[in-house]
Symmetry: C2
Subunit: 358 residues, 2 copies
């Protein structure tokens, strides 16, 4: 009746000890109905006593599902992806799923082969696709063709029925721009994010909308292309700050680039925020470790990942497609922004943090 010591308990050991069939143990473990409360309690006691944990592979094989969720990402900043991983993992753990994270290599056709390789080898049940992969029409088509359930963490431009979690990138960028305008800035430089990311154009749109709303013209030479990495922000800022009429504020489309702007200012001996205000986007770790600390948009990265994973598991369970989720962002005002020189008399807004539903 008792299992030998030092051997992993299996469902049969539990069934024997509880005096029931293995099917009943299975029912209890999977929270299926039609088990007497008394039976359920007894089984659970034995499970605990024997330290029984069902075999993932046996469950997978018999259940025709792997209980494996894949998370694919391309090349984001470490601080961002770690938050995503933690959020997704937290939700997976609650649902008895395991998370496999995978950094894809290469672009376009290579990308698809890479992702399909992952899917084929692990036979995973669903996929969490982060931006900008979530915006690749080819990839999405491929996943559709293979009938792989997936959820996207991303803003999205094209219509697709798969669920997604996102935030209001355009609105957030507009708010940040308005904050800068409110500080008296008129000549505001903007550094665009990576062209492959739809978020980049959305943030640019928000910037333009705010400028237009205040009747401010956008000079072409004050808008620079960046790539979401530190170096691209550094280079863009060097150019912006070397013109005959440099901006009094620079809004970079993410924190890494904003940190690059700070370095350019240091190089050129420009005082931030006295002579130049700098704003970022994301509110990752880097925003708090540079000098001066960055005013930025807080992106709810962990929650986006948790929520997206939740949508995916919901979809796997019910077979229905859940509604997309939009999460709130907020401005975080720190020491990298200040009233424009010409507007120094104007009192600095007393905003520490402005919450905003997208």
């Amino acid at each position: 009746m008792t299992k030998p010591p030092n051997r992993r308990a299996k469902i049969n050991d539990v069934a024997l000890a509880a005096g029931v069939a293995i099917k009943t143990v299975s029912r209890v473990l999977n929270n299926e109905p039609n088990v007497r409360e008394e039976t359920r309690t007894r089984v659970l006691e034995i499970v605990k006593k024997l330290n029984y944990h069902p075999s993932l592979s046996a469950r997978s094989l018999a259940g025709r599902r792997s209980y494996l969720i894949g998370l694919i990402y391309e090349n984001p900043s470490a601080n961002y992806i770690v938050d995503v991983l933690h959020g997704a993992r937290a939700r997976c753990r609650e649902g008895r799923f395991q998370l496999l994270s995978h950094q894809v290599i290469g672009r376009s056709d290579e990308l698809e082969r890479d992702v399909l390789g992952l899917v084929d080898q692990t036979h995973l049940d669903g996929l969490i696709v982060t931006a900008p992969l979530s915006e690749s029409v080819e990839l999405i088509k491929t996943l559709d063709r293979r009938a792989i359930p997936f959820v996207r963490i991303a803003p999205n431009e094209f219509e697709h029925e798969s669920p997604y979690a996102d935030m209001d990138d355009e609105g957030a960028a507009r708010e940040m721009t308005e904050y800068l305008i409110g500080l008296g800035h008129r000549r505001i430089g903007f550094i665009i994010g990576h062209p492959d990311h739809i978020a980049s154009s959305q943030r640019l749109r928000g910037f333009k909308a705010a400028m237009a709303a205040h009747g401010l013209e956008i000079e072409q030479e004050l808008v620079k292309q960046g790539y979401f990495v530190f170096e691209s922000g550094l280079e863009a800022a060097r150019e912006l700050l070397s013109t005959s009429a440099p901006p009094t504020a620079i809004f970079a489309s993410n924190d890494d680039m904003a940190a690059g702007v700070l370095m350019a200012a240091h190089e050129l001996d420009i005082d931030v925020p006295a002579d130049l205000s700098v704003a970022g986007f994301d509110d990752t770790y880097i925003a708090r470790t540079v000098w001066p600390r960055l005013t930025t948009v807080h992106q709810p990265t962990y929650d986006l990942a948790y929520t997206a994973t939740n949508l995916l598991l919901e979809m796997l369970e019910t077979g229905e497609i859940p509604k997309p989720a939009r999460l709130a962002h907020r401005l975080v005002c720190r020491e990298s922004t200040a009233p424009a020189r010409s507007a120094k008399s104007t009192a600095r807004p007393k905003i520490e943090s402005v919450a905003n539903q997208g």
Copy 2:
């Protein structure tokens, strides 16, 4: 003879199409001997044609192993852990293993339950344990008791037969200290790492050794306790720089804390490197994004993880315990260090990067 479309090929489909038994297909796929070259080629062709990928769960169930490797870490900086993840994953992929990463929560007894929970639920084949978890005697004992194969990424102080990959923390710290002394610094502040990390005391030892070798006294008030996080570096530096005789150089036990030192210098309007040299350890992303860029010790994080994973898989395959691996580090000299004021006449060493085998 042909499988229905849109259904995943299984071993039987391959065997049928190749005109062999499934056992032969299995042999080919697992690189077992005793297959005619001709047969092997034919099977491989069919495998490719049918896009056959063996089921992980079936292999696991029949093979009594999960092909799952766990990686546990506590609370390191994002930039560090992302490198570790990529290194470990790269090696896992080569060996047809999947990597499950897991951030442990809580301390001591809770820690053990957390790790055992992971092990029990996934039935993983082996574990990669990063510092400081690799230094927890209780955790190691628990893993031993359960006979779970594991490898450590860490310096280690106590004797244990399990393999590990590490670098020469003490030697690296000594070299960095000597570099600072070479710049003419005599009053050098030191910020210790988290007390739970053995690397912390090794780096401190290296610092002390270099100071002693040059006949320099270590004033107690110039050595501060930190915790490997940005804020602890900031606070320690505020204290160090507020004394009546502040140091002319500060060596922080990692980059995050060194970034904190830079911020303290900015706050106090101290010019780095003219009036204060700052050195870090690790060479993570943050070392290149702060102003001025950090002189630091390059830690081969990706390689350490890759190598450690390699040792683990080797151990799983051969059943023997491989020798530990020690990887090379090197000093990376950037703009955060300069000759001491009193030694300004001394030419600055022309070292960009000094390679060193540990």
